[in-house]
């Protein structure tokens, strides 16, 4: 394993770093692009994930619906239903506040696709689940506290 490269990757994480690594020939441009495209997935806190997504402090919105049972026996598969009535919804992200990697998924919504989604996520311990919606270039969010009896990451 190339330890120098690992350290370099861990130390930085900003856009400039990847450009530097490409210039130094340590990683290919394709790999750098892939890493940038996955912004937010390596964050270990909710705030870090939000800022990596460029969302900062999203506005709470009543036009987003997050349907999830309050109490879930099995944290390994918690079913979520997401509906957004915000016009021009482009992106929907799911964040589980106390998971080791809070950002679970980012859905990209093309024109003609309805924001009426269902999926299943792991919830490691009882905590809020956040849904972040990017609509007309702005970020909105909704949160719901979810309890799990058996954590879903162990």
């Amino acid at each position: 394993m190339n330890h120098q490269r690992r350290r370099a990757l861990r130390a930085g994480g900003g856009l400039g770093l990847y450009a530097l690594l490409v210039a130094a020939g340590l990683i290919s441009p394709e790999l750098a692009q892939a890493a940038q495209k996955r912004a937010g997935f390596d964050a270990h806190t909710l705030d870090a994930a939000l800022s990596a997504l460029g969302a900062g402090k999203p506005a709470a919105s009543s036009d987003i619906e997050l349907n999830v049972p309050d109490l879930n026996e099995n944290g390994a598969a918690v079913r979520l239903g997401i509906v957004s009535r915000l016009p021009k919804t482009e992106q929907v992200a799911i964040l589980i506040e106390k998971n080791p990697s809070p950002l679970a998924a980012i859905f990209t919504i093309p024109e003609g696709t309805l924001v009426d989604l269902q999926t299943e996520v792991k919830v490691s311990e009882s905590c809020p689940i956040h849904v972040l919606v990017k609509a007309s270039g702005r970020f909105y969010s909704v949160r719901k506290d979810v309890q799990v009896t058996i954590g879903g990451c162990g």
């Binding site: 495209k37 996955r38 990697s101 679970a104 003609g112 309805l114 269902q118 996520v121």
Partner: protein
């Protein structure tokens, strides 16, 4: 070795609903096996669903998505017999693509 994605697509009143169950371990990289050795991360990173070669939903996944990921969504359009294709790629470079006709 990958297993087929189970897909169901039905059109009603001009709106197609797609239900997909992907077959994947979605290993986080933080679990240990019985011998106490970490099980390496192995999870789907990218998903794309297309209707007649037009992408109707794409997604990036992290390891917090459940094993055998489940996705349901709707899009405007679609007619019986047209094709819905679900393609995924994981962090180890494996990928799979499956297709179904809209019912």
């Amino acid at each position: 070795m990958t297993n087929p994605t189970r897909i169901r697509a039905t059109v009603r009143d001009g709106i197609t609903e797609v239900r997909a169950r992907l077959s994947h371990v979605m290993e986080t990289g933080m679990r240990k096996n019985a011998a106490g050795v970490l099980i390496p991360a192995h999870f789907i990173t990218d998903l794309a669903v297309s209707h007649n070669d037009r992408v109707v939903l794409s997604a990036q996944f992290g390891p917090s998505v459940s094993a055998n990921p489940y996705v349901v969504f709707k899009f405007r359009g679609g007619a019986p017999g047209e094709r819905i294709r679900v393609t995924w790629t994981d962090n180890l470079g494996e990928s799979r693509s499956d297709e179904v006709a809209i019912a």
